[in-house]
Symmetry: D2
């Protein structure tokens, strides 16, 4: 069994990594770090893991990291930027789950994240970790920037359509909805149970930091620059993202052509499910699947694509493990083809 480190193990993505790793056939969690909970056990913070994972939480230490074969960084953005270069110095391959190494253009960080990038030289080296688009590069990468939850739910259904020219690269409208775990583990007023349950709202309209990541990925697929409208919403549930995406098409496109495009791209992909029925977040809950369906609205010449993922699995920890599998030469689906 290979040894794995999770730096920042007590946030929700760190927790989900542990959940997946303790079931993995080829690796096991070996070293878990936490600034806030150092000295406690992982199962003190998450009592569900008593007996399943009682590893101690420690302050990050290079010698301990060097004992491991692989490192996940599950840190807040802004923090990850500062820590990851040190992690890479151990010589171990790293998957970073934050947004800090996803954008190739360092100039986008001040605009969308509100800070200058302190290590822009790593942005070129970082490989964007969407295996369905980028598998070969991931295999050779030392640093993989694991995609954001919304960008995963958006790029997977759109990349084939844009690459094949089936949908137009203009006027893309993305209406996305996420469960509350996407907001992280810190208790704050909007996520206080009595405020959050029985409530639905939009947030960060026109300003969400995942917009440039989505545009970067879709531009690569389309082979041209593009802009999207992206509106995230908060759903009173724990897990899941559903994205409803409105695309322009030519009037005379046939439904079958769209099916063919998806099938061509995804028929051998282990984690993409093309559906006739509409996706529901419960159907991907605890799995690494992305479910995709579409409807043609002939009245408006719009193609409406719906995708669903578990934001903590395919949108974070599951995809990170998928990337690790690729980087370590393990079977890509190891640890991921059963429910979490």
């Amino acid at each position: 069994m290979l040894k794995v480190a999770v730096v920042g193990a007590t946030g929700y993505t760190g927790r989900e990594l542990v959940e997946i790793l303790i079931r993995h056939q080829y690796v096991r969690p070996h070293y878990l770090t936490s600034e806030s909970y150092a000295g406690q056990k992982f199962s003190d913070v998450y009592p569900r893991f008593r007996g399943l994972c009682d590893l101690p939480l420690e302050k990050p230490d290079n010698d301990r990291l060097a004992e491991c074969d692989f490192i996940f960084a599950a840190l807040p953005h802004g923090t990850s930027m500062k820590m990851v270069p040190g992690l890479l110095n151990t010589g171990r391959p790293v998957v970073d789950l934050s947004g800090d190494f996803r954008l190739q253009d360092p100039g986008l960080y001040p605009v969308w994240y509100g800070y200058e990038h302190c290590h822009p030289e790593y942005l070129k080296q970082a490989v964007y970790g969407l295996p369905e688009s980028n598998r070969e590069k991931i295999k050779d990468a030392r640093l993989v920037a694991n995609p954001g939850c919304y960008p995963t739910a958006v790029q997977l259904p759109l990349a084939p359509l844009l690459a094949a020219g089936v949908a137009e690269a203009e006027d893309i409208i993305i209406d996305a909805k996420s469960g509350v775990s996407g907001a992280g583990r810190a208790a704050r007023q909007p996520y206080h149970f009595p405020e959050c349950t029985e409530n639905f709202k939009a947030y960060k309209i026109t300003g969400h930091q995942h917009i440039p990541e989505i545009e970067q990925g879709l531009a690569a697929a389309a082979g041209r620059q593009l802009k999207v409208v992206f509106t995230p919403h908060l759903v009173p549930m724990v897990r899941g993202i559903l994205a409803t995406i409105y695309l322009k098409i030519k009037a005379r496109i046939a439904e079958e052509k769209i099916w063919d495009t998806f099938r061509e791209y995804y028929d051998s992909e282990p984690f993409i499910r093309l559906l006739e029925d509409l996706p529901e977040t419960k159907h991907v809950s605890g799995t690494n699947y992305c479910d995709i369906a579409f409807r043609l609205d002939k009245r408006s010449c719009r193609l409406i694509v719906v995708s669903a993922i578990d934001n903590l699995v395919k949108g974070a920890a599951g995809q990170a493990v998928q990337n690790m599998n690729l980087m370590l030469g393990l079977p890509e689906t190891a640890g991921l083809l059963q429910g979490v």
Copy 2:
């Protein structure tokens, strides 16, 4: 106190009518009908109302209806169509909460509702009951067709923008989300608690029966025919609708112009709240308010409008009472300006 009948009192809209009417200053529920529960009391079906409303549930009877000063029909669509003419024969004014008298063109019923209208001659006489657009006609109406929940949440924010020409009448995309009470009281698999909680999904894409109602209302505002893309979603909560609407604008429109348009239309409207913050369904829960806010996306020349209503109040029973108030010459806000 005027006497009011609720025909079909045991569905969720009937229940909500009773909830509002028992607090109304000028009227009181007098006669409640139910096919399925005749012989029981209203409070047998809804035990919360023990002591608040213990009226018997009876099979509909014309003599009993004629004792009343006003009639609400809270029946399923398809059924209402057959019953309402008889209710009107009592000589009492009627608000119908179904979809059966909302569309002026009878030819739309087979397309969107799946049946021929059996009384198309009433469609011309019926007044569409959106007071903010249609107040004077409602005052004189004998039959008011109470708007659907989604159409209310969509028309209220869009009518001013289209009427003023601030937004274009083409390429309107409506992404709407509703709580589960919108699906009614009948227990069915998708609404079984373990299936429905922790789940989010889209449904009836391109085919929802509220589409022609929305298009009819917006066409009247815009002064021209138009088509919309409308996608409803199901949120794991009981009450509330939030609509996120994407509109095209001219590149150089100023935010202030949009504010002015809304203010001009709505500054004296008692149930419209124009907000700088984004609406949330919890903020309208149990109220007759429609909350509206907007954001300009200068990158895409799109105007994003967000509205929120309580689907059972402004989206059904509250608006029905507002219409009743207008039809009976009562203060328009009677019974409606406090939380439910």
Copy 3:
């Protein structure tokens, strides 16, 4: 309209007081205080109240308090103790919703609340505000200590049984369950939506501060000292308390005798509903009712009593308004006989 002050208006009980008072026929909220939010409007903190209550939040001020006819103190325990004497100095009658004036024996405060009472001289003057047991004293009181949520749900069903000697005063076991609003408005980890939803737990077993209040009330009913076992639990819902209470009875007691006892005490009580069906928290939600039912377990000679209240209404703000009505000589049910 009489003028009412709410000192500490932004907690959940303060919010609920405002909710009830804006619908009250004889009084209206006039002066709302908040330490943390002074300078904002009430509707800034609770946007649902925009247009319904836009009063400013102010730091408490004696002159402003003296403008009012009545004062509610909705402060945390420990704080209320220090503030209430000053409120009484205005000469206005006061209902205090904290636990600070409920216990007659000052020696209980260090044991159960963890602090010495700084104004024990007020404990004798304070009248315990359970109208069903204490109505006449409340009418003449200047300071009413509004009962706790759990003590209300427990005393209402038990007082008649103990007073009539139908149940034994020994070996009383109370298993109580509360919605999350009982934990207050402050965001904390256990009430963070992803932690709190889909979770159920017991807390503070043998040590909850409501135990001495329950024992004091039941002892008065029974005419002797007694002890109870009390276990509170947290239910993943916002509102409601359900108490399941296990009592010893004599083997040969008839069910009818228990019904008679309840009816004798409660038949003319406006807010007690004796039921054959078992209570459910949804049936009292937003109301000032206490629903009560019982079952005799002949196999064990135990009487099982179940009661349900809305913890924020009959368990806090509704009962406080009921007390205010009594103290001001208004109809006892004013503002309370419709759903919130």
Copy 4:
């Protein structure tokens, strides 16, 4: 890989069996039956399993059953009674998850289940499948009656205390709370999302069919007949049971003695976790653990024991797999030591 049949695969316990079996190291689901859904795939009924388990659903057939090495019966009680003898005729070992073979005394079926047992001759042969109490007999059994969810949550914490004489066998009060999946998959009014969410209630007080099963198990532990008071409640969540149990003890018992008793029984048990903190249902969700803690109430000489399980795992499918492992000579924890 051994081949396993699930007879009645589309109920919630059948679904959970499939969930566990597809991750099991030594067995795999081979044959799934359903009366209602025969002809469809398992993943048509549960779309989450697309790609994970796409087995067809078939009408039960003896030849197909005989292909399997092991049979689970996950049928409603009353139906199972009629089917299980036929399943045993295949010669394969069977775990029955219904209540139909749990009670040794056939005379209890008419009283608690409302029907005569049609095959009382199998009751003696059936082994009660609580491995922590009955491991050796289970290993040799051909028919194991898998315990009920509530009885599991009650017997695991109480058996050691009664066997050791630490708690008295009289006056046992069990206040139990279950998530909604315990009510099964059929959509019915009380479990309709808008009725069920934000609601808490007791049900079947004094009459739940799990009472005789609990009494039978506890009597075996105590070595004498006994009666319990048992009150189940419905919690608005999907999974989990929490039992709060009130026991009489002798005044002078030391806390350490109780710890010793539990440790002696359970220290080597893989699925029992003895805790100092109080159990929470979320901490056992998706696991086969039973978490147990206790508090001594010295004021009342009561011992309060709290246990938590996942009703679908340790309370049904997980325990069934644990029994299968024992019956097939596999490692007892196979397939069960990771989260579901």
